[in-house]
């Protein structure tokens, strides 16, 4: 066995151990009679899950929701990353931060904000439009598939943005210049050269969004359920929630189909990007990302971008600020303004569990994301550079826990961790987070790796550098945009992670999302918003700091 194969196998064991263990427990649970994983073998749960008469409609809704949201997320990300990375548009740093803000907001809060803006009874937007145009009925209804796609698309857009943006940033200007020399205009160059070369990143973003949408629960629950629109995640919830003896094995049986779809998507992705040499943009000849002058389009595009980001992202955040200041859920009015106070903020800041959860979440965010990104560098390298069947298995394995619906995977981890000494400690959360969200590190890094030519490594080795030295001195510096993106994706996810935390957190290891869920369960939206804003501020500071470090470290 050569060293590459040996390293691949080592990574396979590490990633496999992290991601397969909970899924195996869920697999046992899905074939086990009763509520635990150790019951007698049965197929009853699969039969019950897949003979449900509602399944046809659920699948239809799920397909529209997942594809609609993923498409919206990817297209928006493409538009934003192009303007932010490739053009001379002003206020780039601010636009970059705003573009990834939705991923720092707890999904449940972002969904509630949109309900306040677009509900058909007294949504703020609808009221304004009614007054402006004398309409009798509300123009928008958030409780619809369209509403679900809008909110989920916005929530997932930063994932797509953070995968596409580094690829945009590493684009070789020579390719576009050659196109223009041959007579193509900017738009033709974009369609025929830029986008095809970025295909791995765009596909990676789209696939990651699809997988995330399938597992999403907050939007289908807060927006879909009141509109009586059920998708797979809420169908699982509806199926298992009747009664007190919740059968997570049955939920796992439904979740297995999501898992299979995810694995198929990975295989398709690998097939579509098989000839990775086509997408190399950083070679030994040097590269420099080009800035396209927008000229007369600069001001109009600035306003379009500003307005888009204000309506889609800033406004919902402002709704959160407003909600944290009013004593209860109120429509904005002079009376509401007169009643504003800081009581919710005081309650949150004097609550010792909120402070402890803040501290634990910051620890998990920074430490967990760093460990996760180090592991991701090695895994992404193996997936891209060593294209063997084993590396293909490694890529599929990395998606296992990630693609399971959130309400189930936490229980899988609990069934696994309870057999280990780290159960009920913060370390169980740390390992669970990394195992589940490792694709957030691998995806942007894989896209970045694809763009770096092998010759650079080979040159380093010719000069006598060992593989680790080559990695440290040549590869990692060139990967800085990808590392920054991956780290941000992981850290912001860990800061607001709920699915695993709600099952694994215990006294002493509480995290912010669990505290947020507590407030949500009690309907305390004011405190929820205050804690949510604290979370957004911490995440934004971290993102700004890491982006700054990334810029400084960039070769």
């Amino acid at each position: 066995m050569n060293s590459s194969s040996r390293n691949t196998v080592i990574l396979l064991v590490i990633v496999g151990f992290l991601t397969v263990s909970p899924v195996i427990m869920l697999l046992f649970g899905s074939f086990s009679r009763g509520l635990s994983v150790s019951g007698a073998f049965t197929l009853d749960k699969y039969i019950a899950a897949y003979t449900d008469p509602d399944l046809g409609e659920i699948i239809n809704n799920t397909v529209i929701f997942v594809f609609g949201s993923s498409l919206l997320a990817t297209l928006l990300a493409l538009f934003l990353s192009y303007l932010n990375n490739r053009t001379d548009i002003t206020w780039k740093f601010l636009f970059r931060i705003i573009s990834i803000t939705p991923m720092m907001i707890p999904h449940i809060l972002f969904s509630v904000s949109w309900v306040l803006l677009l509900n058909p009874s007294n949504g703020i937007f609808n009221l304004i439009l009614k007054q402006l145009f004398g309409l009798k009925n509300s123009l928008f209804n958030i409780y619809s598939l369209g509403g679900m796609i809008l909110v989920e698309g916005l929530l997932d857009m930063p994932i797509a943005y953070l995968i596409i943006a580094p690829a945009m940033a590493s684009f070789d200007v020579n390719l576009e210049e050659s196109s223009r020399v041959c007579g193509a205009n900017t738009l033709q160059t974009l369609i025929r050269i830029t986008l095809p070369v970025l295909r791995p990143a765009i596909l990676a973003a789209f696939i990651l969004c699809i997988v995330r949408c399938m597992a999403s629960f907050a939007v289908p629950s807060v927006i879909g359920m009141p509109g009586r629109i059920y998708v797979l995640a809420t169908h699982i919830y509806r199926t298992i929630s009747i009664g007190f003896a919740i059968d997570y094995g049955k939920a796992a049986a439904i979740g297995m189909s999501v898992l299979v779809i995810s694995v198929i998507l990975i295989i398709i992705y690998r097939y579509l990007t098989a000839e990775s040499e086509k997408y190399v943009t950083i070679s030994s000849r040097g590269y420099r990302p080009a800035v396209i002058e927008l000229k007369r389009a600069k001001v109009p595009l600035f306003f379009v971008l500003g307005l888009l980001l204000f309506i889609l992202i800033v406004l919902p955040v402002l709704v959160l600020v407003y909600t944290s200041l009013v004593p209860y859920s109120m429509i904005p009015s002079s009376r509401a303004l007169s009643m504003m106070n800081l009581n919710h903020w005081r309650e949150v800041l004097k609550d010792p569990i909120s402070i402890l959860s803040l501290k634990n979440s910051i620890f998990l965010g920074i430490f967990g994301a760093t460990i996760g990104i180090i592991l991701s560098i090695f895994v992404a390298y193996t997936i891209v550079r060593i294209k063997t069947r084993t590396s293909g298995i490694l890529e599929s394995l990395s998606f296992l826990s990630f693609s399971f619906p959130g309400i189930v995977i936490g229980v899988g981890f609990m069934w696994f961790f309870v057999r280990t000494p780290i159960y009920a400690t913060i370390w169980a959360l740390l390992i669970g987070y990394i195992a589940t969200y490792i694709p957030y590190g691998i995806r942007p890094l894989s896209s970045a790796f694809i763009q770096i030519h092998k010759h650079l490594e080979e040159s380093s080795r010719v000069f006598g550098a060992k593989p680790l030295t080559t990695m440290r001195r040549i590869i990692v510096p060139l990967l800085i945009p990808g590392i920054t993106s991956g780290w941000i994706l992981m850290a912001t996810m860990f800061l607001r992670e709920l699915s695993l935390s709600v099952v694994l957190a215990r006294p002493g290891s509480e995290v912010m999302a669990v505290q947020i869920l507590r407030f949500a369960s009690d309907g305390l939206w004011g405190r929820l918003s205050a804690l949510g804003i604290i979370m957004i501020v911490i995440s934004t500071s971290l993102v700004a700091l890491v982006t700054f470090i990334g810029i400084k470290l960039k070769p």
Binding site: P226, I242, Y328, K359, V411, G508, S521, L553
Partner: protein, 324 residues
């Protein structure tokens, strides 16, 4: 470059030093009831025993406790959940037979082989008192079927939410004089197209904001969400709810602390905190939540429904409420 590296290393060291929080544990309490921190603090102040409260939602309660118990790692000394959950756990041997002497003051029907009922998760019609005129406030449950409430009601999904399913069945068995009358009520309610949410938690917000006018919800929100303009419809019929129960676990790591905790929990002092601060309806005699008229209301504990019954009725309600 060196400065940045140094800064990163310092941040890491600081995080590692102050990172994972480790707390001392004396009595561990798993509960689905919320906002009980004041009781935990009062218990610690009174006994010197530190209380650790782990909130576990009803949908994960059984899975969590059974998983830990079967692995020999149940961390809880005392557990609190709806009575059907504790009875299922009792069948698996999770519950001890400890009966608190303090419970003697409670009604006889509240003692169940080591499980002690202490409260009722009561349900009422909660409305926005600024937007609903006094003459329009329902006087009876049947008033909710009036067409004026169409698209104005919010409730937990009656196809899946066990407490709402139990409440509807409780109305059939305790309030309506015939099944036909009850079915007319259910169908009339469905015809008014209530908005469904996952549980009781999200029901008050749409009523506060005026998105909806009335909710099938819990009166405790009148206390916990004050000064929101919420009030309860003082219907002529009784209020219903599922009993809340508490028990010491058979494998309690701290059995003496567990007994001390449950004795305190059932005391008038703790029950007064629960009623006054959290708005809960408790079964300790003479203690009521400070909600106008609640001391005179008749509050009935709904019969315990088996999971099979809940599932069967959930499916039935799914059909009835699937009206367009």
């Amino acid at each position: 470059m060196k400065k940045i590296k140094l800064t990163i290393i310092i941040i890491f060291l600081l995080l590692l030093m102050g990172g994972p929080a480790i707390g001392a544990s004396k009595v561990s309490f798993y509960a689905n009831i919320t906002a009980i921190e004041p009781i935990m603090e009062a218990f610690e102040a009174k006994t010197g025993i530190a209380g650790e409260y782990t909130r576990i939602s009803t949908d994960k309660f059984l899975a969590t406790v059974l998983t830990e118990f079967e692995a020999g790692k149940l961390l809880a000394d005392v557990i609190q959940a709806p009575i059907p959950v504790l009875e299922m756990l009792s069948e698996k041997g999770v519950i001890s037979s400890y009966i608190s002497s303090v419970a003697q003051t409670y009604p006889d029907w509240t003692h169940k082989n080591g499980i002690q009922l202490f409260g009722i998760e009561y349900v009422a019609l909660i409305y926005n008192k600024e937007l609903v005129k006094q003459e329009d406030v329902p006087k009876r449950y049947e008033d909710l079927t009036d067409a004026k409430w169409k698209d104005k009601i919010v409730m937990a999904n009656p196809a899946i939410h066990p407490t709402t399913i139990s409440w509807l069945i409780g109305l059939k068995e305790n309030v309506f004089s015939s099944e036909e009358e009850w079915m007319n009520f259910v169908k009339g309610l469905a015809a008014n197209k209530p908005m469904f949410v996952a549980s009781f938690g999200p029901t008050p917000a749409p009523v506060e904001s005026g998105e909806k006018l009335i909710a099938i919800s819990m009166p405790k929100y009148i206390i916990t969400k004050a000064p929101a303009p919420l009030d309860w419809a003082k219907v002529a019929q009784p209020l219903l709810g599922t009993p809340r129960a508490i028990a010491v676990t058979s494998s309690a790591p701290n059995p003496d602390s567990a007994k001390a905790f449950i004795d305190y929990w059932l005391s008038d002092e703790a029950m007064s905190i629960l009623a006054e601060d959290v708005g809960e309806y408790v079964l300790a005699p003479g203690i009521f939540p400070p909600i106008e008229g609640m001391d005179k209301a008749e509050v009935i504990a709904i019969r315990e429904l088996s999971d099979e019954e809940i599932q069967q009725w959930g499916n039935e309600f799914k059909q009835i409420f699937a009206v367009e």
